[in-house]
Amino acid sequence: MRRGRLVITIAACATAVLLAGACSGSFGMPRGASEQAQETFQIWQVFFIAAIPVAGIVYVLIAWSIVRYRRRRSDPPGAQGSQRNENIPMEIVYTAVPVMIVVALFVLAIRTDDRVTAISPDPDLIVRVEAFAWGWRFTYPDGETVVSPPSGEDAAEPLMMLPHGETIRISLTSNDTIHAFWVPEFLYKHDAIPGRTFEFDVTPTEMGTFQGHCAEFCGLNHAYMNFRVQVVSRQEFDSWLQQQEAAA
C-alpha cells in the first residue's frame, strides 16, 4: 500500500510539473517573428495540446494498472489474473477515437501548411539566397550582394537585412551540395538543392537580430555555416542598401 501511494505522489508531481510547463503556452517553441511563423506556432500549440490528453490518458491507464493490479504479498502463489482476453466494443472505441483525432489533426495541419507555404502575387522585396559550402550569398534586387567569405570556425557570420512588416520573397538555391536555410525565429526552413530554385515568403513582424543556421548536413564546416538576419524599419533598410551599393 505504501508503495502504491508513493507511485501516485510521484505521478501527481510529474503531472504538476508538466502542467506548469504547459501553462506558459508556448511549450518550448519560439513564438515566431513572422506572419507565417504565427501559423506554425498555432499548429504547434494544437498538436501539443492534443498530445497532452492522449499521452496523459495512456500514462494514467498504465500507472493505474501498475498500481492497482500489482501482485500483492497476500496473493496465493501461482494466482492468475482475470482470464478475459477481448472486449470488442472497447477495441472499436480505441481504434475509432484515434482515427478521429488524426483526421482532425490532418485537416488542421494541411490548412496550416497551405498558409505557411502560400506565395504572395506581388512581394515587396525579392532576395535571392544562394547557399554554398560553406557560406551564404544574399542578392538584393538591385544586384548588391552580400557574400560571406567561405567560412571556417572563425569566419564572420554574414548578415541578411530585411525590412519590417513587408512581404519578402526568398528565392533559394545552392550550387554545390544540399544545404538548408533556417531561421529558428521564423519557424521555417527549406532545403537548398542544386539544380532547383525554391520560393517562399516571409513577413517579419518583429524587429531585431535573429540567428540563422544551415540545417542540412553539408560536410566539413556544416556547423559553421551560420548567418544572422536583422529586421529593421524600411528607412534603415533603404539606407543600408545604399551603403552596400556605395561600397560595391
Binding site: M29, I110, I193, A223
Partner: protein, 544 residues
C-alpha cells in the same frame, strides 16, 4: 495430455561446452541466434562508445576533443552501426533463436543459408567499421543517410564511403536471406496444431518484419548501387548539373529508411507483447486486433517515406502527412492491447516486465513527438534539429533498446539455462531509465531552441549550453548502466544459478522444452490448442 512426436533412446548426453570453432560454423538455429545477438551487442558497445565521444565533445560550447572531420565520421558510423548492425541484427538473432522454438519446429528452413546470412552481416559490419576507422583521412563522413551530392566523389573523396556502401550492400543481402528464411520457416514448418492464428505474437511480428525487409531493402540497394556507380564509374543519375536529380536517392533511401524503423521496432513490440501477459498472469488482450494492427503498420509503413523529405519541396506533403498520421492508430491499438493485458492482472514486476513498462513510457513520447513531426508545418521547424534526434532516440533507444533488454532478461534463462540477477537487473533498469531520459529529454529542448543536428560545435549564449551539459551527463549514466549489465551477464554465467525449464510461467512453446533446449529442440511437444500451449499444459483447469 501430450502427443509425442518421436521417442528416441535418450542417453543423457553430458552437456559439454561446444568449442569456439564449432560455434562459429554450426548451422543450428539456436547457435546462429546467439551468434547474432552477441555480435550485435558488441556493435552496440562500439556504437555507444562513439556516442560517448560525441556527447563529450558537445558537453560544452566550442570544439575540444575531435576535429570536424572526425565528428562527422563519428555520427555517420554511430547511426549506421546502431541501426543496421545492432538493433536489426539483434532482432534477427532473437528470430533465429525463437521462431523454430515458438512454432515447434526443429530448425530454420534453410540452416546453411542462415549461417551465411550471419556472415554477410558480419562482413558488412566490418566494412562499415573500416569505412569509419581504417581509412585514415578518407573516412566515411556523410551521415547515415549519405545523401548525394555530399556523398559523391567530388565532396567525399577517399575509399571510406565506398566501403560504407559495400558494407550496406552486404547488410542488405544478409537481411534478404534472413527474411526468406523466416518466412519459409513460419509458413511451412509449423508443428501440427500451430495454426497461423495461434502463432505467438513475436513470431507474427517477425513475419511482418521479414516481409518489410524483402520489400524495402532491394530498392535501397538500387539507390546505393547508383551512388557507387556515380562515385567510381562516372555515373550521373544524381548529378544536377548534368541533368540528374539528387532527390531520387532520397526517395530510394527512405523507401528503405522508413520501413527500416519499423523493422527496428516491430520485433520488440512483439517481444514485450509476449512478456506483458506472462507477468500480468493474463492472456494477451485483443490478439486479433494486435495482429491486424501489426499488418496495417506493415502496409502503411511502405507509404510514408517522404515525411523525411518535407523540407525538400519536391514531394506531395499532404499525402505523406496523411499516411504518417494514420500509422499512429495501429500503434495506439498496441498500447491498448498492453494496457488491456495488464488490466485485472496480478502483475509481477520482474526485470523483463520492468523493461517492458519502461518501453511503454519512453516509446509513447517518441510516438507522440513523431505525430508532431508528421505535420509538415511543424516539421519545417523541427526537421534536422535535435528535436528529431530526441524523437528517434525515444523510439529506438527508449523503445527498441528497452525491448532488447526486456528480451534479454526474459529469454537469457532459456538460452543459457541460468538466471540473470534480479537485483542487478533492477539497477540496470533504473540507471537506463534515468540516464536515457536525462540524455534525450534535453535534446527536445535543444531542438526547440534551434540547435541543428550534426553540428560539431555551437555558440554559447543561444540557450544550448545547459541542455547539452545535462545530456552528456545522462549519456555517462547510460554508459554506467551498460557496464553494470555486462557485469550482470558475466557474473551470472560464472555463478550459474539454474533457471529450470520455465522460470517465468511462460506461455509459448519454448517454455516447454529444457533450458537450453536440446539440439533437436523438443523431446516431446505438448498439444497446441491455443495461443498458450505451455500455459495450457500447466493449467489444464483453465485451458480451452
Amino acid at each position: 495430455m501430450t502427443t509425442t512426436l518421436e521417442r528416441r533412446p535418450q542417453v543423457p548426453a553430458p552437456r559439454q561446452r561446444p568449442g569456439v570453432v564449432h560455434r562459429l560454423v554450426s548451422t543450428d538455429h539456436k547457435n546462429i541466434g546467439v551468434l547474432y545477438c552477441v555480435s550485435a551487442f558488441v556493435f552496440f558497445l562500439v556504437g555507444g562508445a562513439l556516442a560517448e565521444v560525441m556527447r563529450t565533445e558537445l558537453m560544452e560550447p566550442s570544439r575540444q576533443i575531435v576535429s570536424n572531420e572526425t565528428y562527422n565520421t563519428l555520427f555517420t558510423i554511430h547511426g549506421t552501426v546502431m541501426i543496421f548492425l545492432f538493433v536489426a541484427p539483434f532482432a534477427s538473432g532473437l528470430a533465429n533463436y525463437l521462431i523454430p522454438l515458438q512454432i515447434g519446429g526443429p530448425d530454420m528452413a534453410f540452416p546453411r543459408l542462415n549461417l551465411s546470412s550471419f556472415y554477410f552481416f558480419i562482413g558488412g559490419g566490418i566494412l562499415v567499421l573500416l569505412a569509419g576507422f581504417a581509412a585514415a583521412g578518407q573516412a566515411a563522413a556523410m551521415g547515415w543517410t549519405a545523401y548525394p551530392p555530399l556523398s559523391e566523389i567530388r565532396l567525399s573523396p577517399g575509399v571510406g564511403p565506398d566501403l560504407w556502401i559495400l558494407g550496406l550492400v552486404l547488410v542488405v543481402i544478409s537481411n534478404v536471406m534472413n527474411g526468406v528464411n523466416v518466412l519459409t520457416t513460419v509458413f511451412l514448418m509449423r508443428a501440427p496444431g500451430m495454426t497461423m492464428w495461434r502463432l505467438p505474437v513475436f513470431t507474427w511480428n517477425m513475419v511482418v518484419v521479414a516481409i518489410l525487409g524483402l520489400v524495402a531493402f532491394p530498392p535501397a540497394a538500387a539507390g546505393l548501387t547508383l551512388l557507387l556507380i556515380g562515385r567510381r564509374l562516372g555515373g550521373l543519375v544524381y548529378d544536377a548539373a548534368a541533368g540528374g536529380d539528387p532527390t531520387i536517392y532520397q526517395h530510394l533511401f527512405w523507401f528503405l529508411g522508413h520501413p527500416e524503423v519499423y523493422i527496428l521496432i516491430l520485433p520488440f513490440f512483439g517481444a514485450i507483447t509476449e512478456i506483458i501477459p506472462v507477468f500480468s498472469r493474463k492472456p494477451l488482450f485483443g490478439y486479433t486486433g494486435f495482429l491486424l494492427a501489426t499488418l496495417s503498420i506493415g502496409m502503411l509503413s511502405t507509404g510514408v517515406w517522404a515525411h523525411h523529405m518535407f523540407t525538400t519541396g519536391v514531394i506531395d506533403n499532404p499525402f505523406f502527412a496523411a499516411m504518417t498520421l494514420l500509422i499512429a492508430v495501429p500503434t495506439g491499438v498496441k498500447f491498448f492491447n498492453w494496457i488491456g493485458s495488464m488490466w485485472g492482472g496480478r502483475i509481477w514486476f520482474a526485470v523483463p516486465m520492468l523493461f517492458s513498462i519502461g518501453f511503454m513510457l519512453n516509446f509513447l513520447i517518441g510516438g507522440v513527438t513523431g505525430v508532431m513531426l508528421a505535420s509538415p508545418a511543424i516539421d519545417y521547424q523541427a526537421h534536422d534539429t535535435y528535436f528529431v534526434v530526441a524523437h528517434f532516440h525515444y523510439t529506438m533507444l527508449g523503445g527498441s533498446v528497452f525491448g532488447i533488454f526486456a528480451a534479454i532478461y526474459f529469454w537469457f534463462p532459456k538460452m543459457t539455462g541460468v538466471m540473470l540477477s534480479e537485483r542487478l537487473g533492477r539497477v540496470v533498469f533504473a540507471l537506463l531509465l534515468v540516464g536515457f531520459n536525462l540524455t534525450f529529454w534535453p535534446q527536445f529542448v535543444l531542438g526547440q531552441r534551434g540547435m541543428p543536428r550534426r553540428y560539431v560545435d555551437y555558440s554559447s549564449g543561444l540557450g544550448y549550453d545547459t541542455p547539452n551539459f545535462v545530456s552528456t551527463i545522462g549519456a555517462y549514466v547510460l554508459a554506467i548502466a551498460v557496464c553494470v549489465f555486462l557485469v550482470d551477464v558475466w557474473r551470472s554465467l560464472r555463478h550459474r544459478s539454474p533457471a529450470g525449464d520455465d522460470p517465468w510461467g511462460g506461455y509459448s512453446l519454448e517454455w516447454t522444452t529444457s533450458s537450453p533446449p536440446p539440439e533437436h529442440n523438443f523431446d516431446e511437444l505438448p498439444r497446441i490448442r491455443s495461443l498458450r500451449p505451455a500455459f495450457d499444459r500447466e493449467h489444464p483447469e483453465l485451458a480451452p
